[in-house]
Amino acid sequence: MSSIQQLSVSHLLGIKPLTAEDIQLIFETADEFKEVINRPIKKVPSLRDLTIANLFFENSTRTRISFELAEKRLSADVLNFSSSSSSVTKGETLLDTVNNILSMKVDMIVMRHPAPGAPHFLSHHINANIINAGDGTHEHPTQALLDAYSIREQLGDLAGKKVAIFGDILHSRVALSNIYCLNKLGAEVTVCGPPTLMPKYVQSLGVKVSHQVRDTLEWCDVANVLRIQLERQDLKYFPSLREYAQYYGINRTLLDSLGKQILIMHPGPINRGVEITSDIADSSHSIILQQVENGVAIRMAVLYLLAAKR
């Protein structure tokens, strides 16, 4: 890593505060790390002086594992903390929990939290680099970075590419971060889903809105299909999964009728047979597993670049 370039931020709270140059720098750094993790010896000593705490206040499998792998491949010391209950119900405040951990000399925090803005709140009160690994319905920046990186890998420069995001836009941090990221890289974005799962002012983010799955598929080069977040819905936004699958799900018949090849992405975990059928998820259209692989490289890049800001 001979690059002397630096990120414009010292935390990764979201995609919104990043510049297009920041994103390009992360991609270029990830290119190098992707090469590293495909070597027989997948480890570099870059962060061997650092201790990183992964604080997961919400269930996660792949994001937590992906961060942990990225940290270990950079030779950081890793501390894992998981709690499915929110800080409020647990009786200890988030700030107390994190300050306790920091007093044990931790340098960076990777945090997933159910409350939008939780990492921003933390960044005002503690002195450590913070990486947002998902804050409620707000942002999930490393997911958006790995999504855009995966598209770039398949289709080249994102400028002018047409990306459609399908599903529960209202409750999705992946959608919001993807919209910010794709806009900054010059891609065109359409969001598609039932109107009850669409924020009223979503167009103000610079996207088109559609409620017709077929039309949107015909328009796009890439379909990023989101997970239906039943756990984040406090009310009933649609009557049944059966009806959702029938009218908003993506299946083989639909894709075959398009007369063109599009990329299928999904941030996981998949509700097979709801937003996407198994024959699509497992088909050659799908780059779902490449996304997972790229996730490690992207997270290594982010950790590495933020460590340089210390």
Partner: protein
């Protein structure tokens, strides 16, 4: 107690000396004499400020007090200190205490507990037991104990039938029901104004519709019952228009706006600062323009402090877990003046701060004239100052105004034979 106020412009539209400049001498709580120039007797507190104005003491239509039950947020003494520093000599307190102000014993407790203070405290009784929106309280009894109005305070009255019966029930004594409009089925779990900013923050919005539906409903109920409803702290442009139309139709509808809703818009929330998490939520700039127009043309009668003291543990949290509310007694006047420059002159501002709130509650308006009981506020309209934490007299510290430059300063309040001078 002897006080002499030097060369103050009198703002007292219904009084005999409106807009005249005079020296005012107060002896034992009564305005003893007024003239172009007075001698200073011995042992006299002199208030001599460039550009001083003096008006009837201001009156806040609706602050939250923590007494009884939440004294760690605000007790009567701290509320009165903050109110006096903000220029108020009278404050109507909402019933969201524990227990709620819901029977004559709580009303009398509050009256008794606040006696002897420079600020007069006026209890607002609950409409429903525990402010839970189900059973009507004993409003006649509370009225007899001098409750000035009825409201469930920060809890909007969701049940139309309950409000209808309450409006009918208070008619014999020309009572008024205050309701802060918010339909909770539309507002469901909203965290801030629904708009571009809430979308970009991934926060669930409080749509203007949630307020406007209830404003419309309350106006219809006022029309049907021919009773008095006060739309408390409205915040959207459409709400202003609905009230304007209702007034034009001759209905007994009044309205107020919180000073903080004139000063900040929803952009203030860009960084998830929970001190800006208030109800009604900070809206968009078009709404603010409509609120100002509503104040200027008389659609909105009063400006309130929307004072909601909360302990640090309820605010220093991840944004969605923080409670709604901000303190405002010490900053309401200056934020209103700063926001309304060019919209409202000082006479109209005093009308919204001192005259209309009392009129609405049927309370006598103090005047500035010899022989009158001295109940007045001394202030100016040009001093720039910054609200800093060390100036805060509330027990709670949840103010969004710390560090902001404000225009117009309160120098003194005089009431009940006491004087409070500005601490800065």
């Amino acid at each position: 107690m002897h006080v002499l106020i030097r060369q103050a412009v009198i703002i007292d539209p219904a009084g005999p000396l409106h807009q005249q400049k005079a020296d005012i001498r107060i002896k034992d709580g009564v305005i003893a004499e007024m003239s172009a120039s007075l001698k200073v007797p011995a042992d006299t507190v002199v208030i001599d400020v460039d550009g001083a104005h003096v008006s009837p003491g201001w009156f806040d239509l609706g602050a939250q007090c923590g007494d009884p039950g939440y004294e760690y947020r605000e007790d009567i003494d701290s509320l009165c200190r903050a109110a006096a520093a903000g220029g108020y000599t009278g404050v109507a307190c909402f019933p969201n205490t524990s227990p709620a102000i819901q029977s004559k014993s709580e009303v009398e407790y509050l009256r008794r507990r606040s006696q002897g203070n420079i600020v007069d405290i006026y209890p607002i009784g609950a409409v429903s037991t525990g402010c839970e929106g189900r059973e009507l309280t004993e409003m006649l009894d509370m009225r007899a104990s001098d409750a000035v109005a009825f409201s469930d305070g920060k809890q909007a009255l969701q049940h139309a039938g309950l409000l209808l019966r309450a409006l009918l029930y208070v008619k014999p004594f020309d009572g008024v029901i205050l309701n802060r409009p918010q339909d909770d089925t539309i507002a469901a779990n909203g965290q801030m104004h629904e708009g571009v900013m809430s979308t970009s923050l991934g926060l669930k919005g409080l749509p203007p519709l949630a307020e406007e539906l209830m404003v419309q409903r309350d106006i219809e109920l006022a029309a049907y019952t021919e009773s008095r409803v006060h739309i408390h702290n409205l915040s959207t442009g459409r709400s202003v228009q609905l009230v304007r139309d209702a007034k034009a139709a001759g209905l007994k509808v009044t309205a107020s706006v919180a000073a903080m809703n004139l000063f900040f818009d929803d952009e203030a929330l860009f960084d998830f600062d929970s001190n800006f998490k208030v109800l009604p939520p900070l809206r968009g700039s078009a709404d603010i323009a409509a609120l100002k127009a509503g104040l200027a043309d008389g659609t909105i009668d009063c400006i309130t402090s929307n004072h909601v003291p909360l302990e640090e543990e309820a605010k220093k949290l991840e944004y969605p877990y923080a409670k709604f509310g901000a303190i405002g007694l010490q900053t309401a006047f200056s934020t209103a003046l700063t926001s309304l420059e060019g919209t409202l002159d000082v006479v109209k501002l005093v009308d919204k701060l001192a005259v209309q709130p009392r009129q609405l509650l049927g309370l006598p308006l103090p005047h500035i004239a010899p022989g009158q009981h001295a109940n007045l506020t001394v202030f100016d309209t040009q001093t720039d100052w910054i609200f800093q934490p060390h100036l805060n007299l509330s027990k709670s510290h949840n103010s969004p105004f710390f560090g902001y430059q404000l225009k117009g300063k309160v120098w003194a309040v005089i009431n009940n034979s006491q004087v409070t001078l500005s601490s800065i």
